[in-house]
């Protein structure tokens, strides 16, 4: 899976630098990365169906999602609402899913993004296995990317 993870990291860096102008850096998947998800978190998820089936999810803090929203909507961070944050993170998940899909067997289709938010929750994909879980740091905050493959 090392090849997948390196490619996914490259895709992620490209998306974040191109759309936001921000550097996103891979960090160890340590307890701090996991613990950061126990705070108020937004998760953007897209499903891939077809020759490869699974899900790509981006998890980050509410505050980072609002920073992303502020930048993309051209507003101040304290003006960014939850609706702005959902929209912006959903689009980041959509771009991530679309570009990760290009690394996977074709043909396949991408779902519309779904975004959920809350505190100390878990997302479980039935009949799926965690293929990659990569932690990043951006703007001083943690981002977690998960790739889950559904069992055929």
């Amino acid at each position: 899976m090392q090849l997948y993870e390196d490619d996914i990291c490259q895709v992620t860096r490209t998306i974040w630098s191109t759309m936001l102008g921000w550097e996103i850096r891979r960090t160890p998947l340590d307890e701090a990365a996991i613990a950061s998800l126990k705070e108020r978190t937004l998760s953007g998820c897209v499903q891939i169906t077809g020759a490869w089936e699974g899900d790509v999810a981006l998890h980050c803090s509410d505050s980072l999602a609002r920073k992303i929203a502020a930048l993309t909507f051209g507003i101040e961070t304290d003006e960014a609402t939850l609706a702005h944050a959902r929209d912006a993170l959903g689009e980041m998940a959509n771009m991530t899913g679309g570009n990760v899909k290009s690394l996977l067997p074709a043909p396949s289709s991408l779902s519309l993004p779904a975004v959920v938010e809350g505190t100390d929750y878990s997302m479980r994909i039935p009949v799926g296995r965690l293929l990659a879980q990569i932690a990043f740091e951006c703007q001083g905050e943690r981002v977690l990317l998960r790739l889950v493959e559904r069992d055929s």
């Binding site: 490209t14 998306i15 191109t18 759309m19 929203a69 993309t72 909507f73 051209g74 702005h84 929209d87 912006a88 959903g90 689009e91 959509n94 771009m95 899913g97 679309g98 570009n99 899909k101 290009s102 074709a106 043909p107 396949s108 991408l110 779902s111 519309l112």
Partner: protein, 123 residues
């Protein structure tokens, strides 16, 4: 010059609107293909449509097919701006009548370059 930006993400619509207005376009926004067809029925043909692929109700591919089947929208340039990155999707969109294809993430330079290839956007 007039452009319609069609994307279910308000954030992407805002980014593209800012890029297009900066180079002199009047921009109309639509949140999916159905919404875009409704707006075009009211305002008439525009110079270029920037079209996402994955949208609810009527997706970008279906929008392209509908536009190319409508003689009142003859001559409208269609640029896909989408996360749909498979070559088969690119080919399908171009075969259906799209003029250009931009994969997300995109830069302003890429959008300007594609507009120039379409012969529009130089204010």
């Amino acid at each position: 010059m007039r452009a319609i930006v069609i994307d279910d993400s308000e954030a992407i619509r805002r980014i593209l609107r800012n890029m297009m207005t900066a180079i002199g376009f009047e921009v109309i926004e639509a949140k999916n293909g159905r919404d875009a067809l409704d707006r075009l029925a009211t305002i008439g043909c525009v110079d270029v449509a920037l079209v996402d692929w994955n949208m609810p109700d009527l997706n970008g591919y279906e929008f392209v097919v509908a536009v190319r089947a409508d003689p009142t929208l003859n001559g409208m340039r269609l640029m896909m701006v989408t996360s749909e990155t498979e070559l088969q999707s690119v080919a399908a969109a171009l075969n259906a009548g799209a003029d250009e294809y931009v994969m997300k993430p995109f830069t302003k330079d890429v959008i300007l370059e594609k507009l120039a290839l379409l012969g529009i956007g130089q204010s």
